[in-house]
Symmetry: D2
Subunit: 164 residues, 4 copies
């Protein structure tokens, strides 16, 4: 593949200080790898924090927006994709990502994890509470738990080398 | 409201004998109440079982199909809605239902529960494993657990009387 | 096919008196054939007029709504399908219809005619201005012009007998 | 706006030599302006020609794919957005573009012009047959005809300066 890897970062619109910091760091690390950061694009929580991290390192940031105007995008999103689809855009977040990373979040994030696993995407959960429901996907090598942004990057690198 | 209540029944494409039986019974009970049954429409698992139950009682059944042809619909679906949206149609299942009932299922069903709660829909989980993540929605009166199809109907009736 | 035929009626949200009358009559004729009427569901123009016609004859009416609440539905829509997709729901209108009828309308209606022809659906244009762009589809038997609601019904009946 | 302008280029999957050449040239000119080229992403016709033009000049190319895998993307698409929505993705093409340019094409392209005008987007038709239906949008300054790729660029520049 001579396209850049696209890393989807999902997570809450409302996030605590630690989650915001982790999302920011994750964004910087994604950009330093010359990967593209993709998220839900809005100007809030994990979305804006991860986009800011990637943007601060000069990385490309893509935001898949639920509404019908680019005005709702975070200022750190370079390319707003305006879907007008509401929550149905969550499917696009997942399908467009080579790897899906989920930070702690609410029901939107949970729907994205579920859809990603259904679509067969590799999923990395960052400081996300363990869930028995996901165990089968750990066994098939689709789901991993990470406890730091650096560990996320290490997992992604393993995925890439495995696919080559 | 002088429209019939629309009950969305979500659940696995692959389902065991007990789940199939419960879904069938639930379909019959929905139809006996003169409510409309809505589901994912495909010819498999909880979808076809619940549609068959409603159909056997002369109830109206609506199937929100992921593909782009009505041919994938269960024969017990009276009105196939052909979306061509893949899993993004899960959002339509949820938004179009007055009440969402989830039977045991996989990641598709989990995504529908999550989207329904995000959208503020009342959700009833039938023989679905308890999940700590959903507790806040029990406290706000959006989520209920039921252990039989009859208990589901009783919950729906409470929702209706509450809204009147 | 032992499902009822679904007739999609497209047309302007803003419509003149003659268009409203034709849409109403078309709705009554669809219902008298025991066919299902499907449209964009909103409480305006050709949508509400055709739904009222079908409803007055006891016909089943399905409205594929662009927004995320059934409250925007015409009162003559029996089953509101709530998509939350904005104009992207136009594709569902088309895919879910066995035959697409277009009354005069604006750009939304034009997009639906174009999408219907792209998807290979039979399309009947009722008092719709001739368009050179559509000629190839007249030659392949996908597109017909009609000048009255009764003529629309006659065309649909020809389609059905052709497919049997 | 400190985001790059996004120019959507619509047009036929099947295109003649002249259309392919124009699409290629248009892509090069978009990239030379440091604008982003967005299209339907597939490996055919105006989509791949315009992407190749932009790519040859080092421009950023975004492809909004109808299917559910990036494999259907043209090799000249740098960022494939995988929607899984079929033709419903046409709405995203339009909503995500600051200006929509339509080259000659079939019903898909026509649906995109109609949707763009409905959404209030500026639309430039390149060597596209005149259409009486679009006249009102010429009067309101939303629709322009161009007879060369350079003329398209000149129109876009007028739009930008008008909005500043």
């Amino acid at each position: 593949m001579n396209r850049p890897l696209i890393i989807g970062v999902m997570g809450g619109g409302l996030a605590g200080a630690k989650e915001m910091e982790d999302a920011y760091t994750l964004g910087t690390l994604v950009a330093k790898q010359a990967w593209v950061l993709l998220n839900g694009g809005r100007d809030t929580g994990v979305m804006t924090a991860s986009a800011r991290g990637a943007s601060d390192q000069g990385g490309l940031t893509i935001g898949i927006l639920p509404g019908s105007t680019p005005k709702e995008a975070s200022e750190y999103i370079r390319i707003p994709i305006v879907t007008g689809l509401g929550n149905a855009r969550n499917c696009i977040n997942v399908l467009s990502s080579d790897v899906v990373v989920a930070c702690p979040g609410g029901m939107g994030t949970l729907s994205e994890i579920a859809l990603a696993l259904k679509c067969g995407k590799p999923v990395i959960l960052l400081n996300y509470e363990k869930d028995k429901r996901f165990e089968p996907f750990q066994h098939t090598g689709h789901l991993f738990y990470a406890s730091s942004p650096h560990e996320v990057i290490a997992h992604v690198q393993k995925f890439i080398s495995r696919d080559e």
